[in-house]
Symmetry: C2
Subunit: 358 residues, 2 copies
């Protein structure tokens, strides 16, 4: 293998730095890592030498010796969907500043057959795990917990595990209450997967929906709850199904903006106008919502990721921290896709986004 000569082809080692600086490797290690018990002068000197030699620590060696993996895993079912890419962005932004590597694992849809169970790939490989939007009853997740690694959940919560999410109940309630306030009485729901699916965030949104209806004395009609699978097409089909009902809803709450977009298209296909004929509320705060004049419950996806990453770093710093479930607020953005029931001209309400100007 490579010799340990000062000018070895492969790379400068800590020994080269030590020799050049006239100190021991132990001192170099301490100096470079900012550990205490190093003379400031020595430290500066060592740093300078290391810099001059263009020395870079070997992660492998460091990890082997220290027992730390030096990286954290981010597990997500999707990469190219609004929520997940936003969250990932937030996570990356924070982790970039740490000295931990971000290992990316995409599981694909949890309901699909997955390729390699994450927990087998993760063993001995990461110091902590960040999980985005996986249902808490997922077997993968359970096996993950058994790895005994610090874990932070994003967009889900589980007892004894640190998590960051929004209040999905409140979000669902807010969206539905808005429709109730506009005078709607038959309010449909476009859910994600077919309900009931335990432990999914969508369940909380469903609860909010039901709460708002019940609180207003409206009936919760199972016929009015159609799954849209969180895709545009799914949303379109769901809306079409809603319209085909004997007594179609006058308003619909879609659990994601992308499904709401599909719903908007379904309306157009039927010659119906959003707001005037049927009101639609989405969920997410997708950039496109503004464009399509869609009322929606905005969630700070990127902030969720950033906050979760910070939590995990803190947890790594001090494992004694009690896991807690943090929540970030959502906000209803009212746009043209919702209006007073039966109003010939959509009524003006306080609005948001670029459309806000009168």
């Amino acid at each position: 293998m490579a010799t340990s000569d000062a000018t070895a082809v492969i790379g400068i080692t800590i020994r080269d730095v030590a020799r050049e600086a006239g100190v021991s490797t132990a001192t170099v290690s301490r100096a470079l890592r900012g550990l205490p018990n190093v003379d400031p002068v020595t430290r500066e000197h060592v740093k300078r030498v290391a810099d001059r030699l263009d020395y870079v620590i070997s992660p492998a060696a460091s990890r082997l010796a220290s027992g730390r993996a030096g990286s954290i895993a981010v597990i997500t079912p999707f990469l190219a969907r609004w929520y997940f890419s936003k969250v990932l962005h937030g996570v990356e932004r924070i982790l970039q500043r740490s000295d931990l590597d971000l290992l990316l694992y995409s599981t694909g849809d949890p309901s699909e057959v997955h390729r390699v169970p994450p927990h087998r790939r993760l063993r001995r490989r990461v110091d902590a795990v960040l999980v985005i939007g996986l249902p808490v009853d997922s077997p993968d997740l359970q096996e993950l917990f058994e790895l005994d690694l610090p874990v932070t959940l994003i967009g889900a919560h589980s007892a004894g595990v640190s998590s960051v999410s929004i209040d999905d109940v409140e979000g669902g309630r807010m969206a539905t209450q808005h429709l109730v306030n506009l005078g709607h009485e038959r309010i449909g729901l476009i859910s994600g997967r077919p309900l009931p699916t335990p432990f999914f965030p969508e369940n909380d949104r469903l609860s909010g929906y039901q709460q708002a209806l019940s609180a207003s004395g409206l009936v919760v009609d199972q016929q009015l709850q159609v799954p849209g699978f969180f895709t545009i097409e799914g949303g379109e089909h769901a809306m079409t199904a809603q319209l085909a009902q004997p007594k179609p809803p006058t308003a619909v709450f879609a659990m994601s903006d992308e499904m709401a977009f599909g719903a908007l298209r379904a309306l157009r296909r039927h010659g119906l106008q959003p707001g005037r004929d049927v009101s639609i509320v989405g969920f997410d705060g997708h950039e496109m919502a503004d464009l399509l004049d869609l009322t929606t419950v905005c969630q700070p996806a990127e902030d969720l990721g950033a906050l979760a990453a910070r939590c995990l770093l803190d947890l790594l710093d001090d494992p004694s921290i009690e896991p807690q479930a943090k929540r970030l607020p959502t906000q209803l953005y009212v746009r043209g896709s919702t209006a007073i029931r039966g109003a010939a001209h959509p009524v003006s309400l306080p609005r948001h986004g670029n459309d806000a100007k009168p």
Copy 2:
């Protein structure tokens, strides 16, 4: 530190497996990694024992001993934009099957001040690098090349470097020619950054645009080329600027779908109807394009990522492979946002997507 007892708390080591299987650590290593010169019976036995003991190789130790980093870096300026998230998805899908870790690095917009220069973080840390959509003249990229790692570029090309991309010239040409064919003579362009910016993919799209115009004897009017910065809002501003010209274009080619979406909104704001009043062509094949009835040049972003990942794995397998620039085809999807110039009723052409049904 941890003892090397068979039942050490920290983990099973190769020695434990060797002892339990009654062979040497060398044999275990060879057997588990599928190296030749191992008796099939021995190999099976060792595998079984390793499995029973739930043995997992220590990546750190393996990497230190072998000199391989066991991971590849994926560098991207954005995570939450259509093209980049799609490409990343393709990359991840392939890398998942390999035994290499995917290290994610987001640089932010290359024109911004960046945080930590990638090349410093990458040293000794990865075996290869996958770069998404960074301009070839980016200083970061140059320093990356000097790391002497196998590199594959996605959405860009550079002499002597393996790359995967589409033919942007052809794409731009196709979009523009389509508008020419519809009888348009004043054809505007919504570019990315202000032109000319050397070495950006957008330059090729610009070339295609110019070629198509020139080939048809149309003038290339600088006034008709407005930057839209690849965002919805940018596209809206750009379109608004186009409309404010003394002689506005009757058709516009936007270099990305998201900018085209903005352009559509600008039209709507002006009471104009896409297709009838002004034709718009986008670029990407965004899911939303179908929804908004936008004609667009589709590019197989996910395939680009997958192919690039495979290339890089091949290159890692056999470093003697000559770097080559692979290209994937694009395809024009005609929808309602483009129509014959001046036609009162948008003319019917072969169309695509859900709208295709007569």
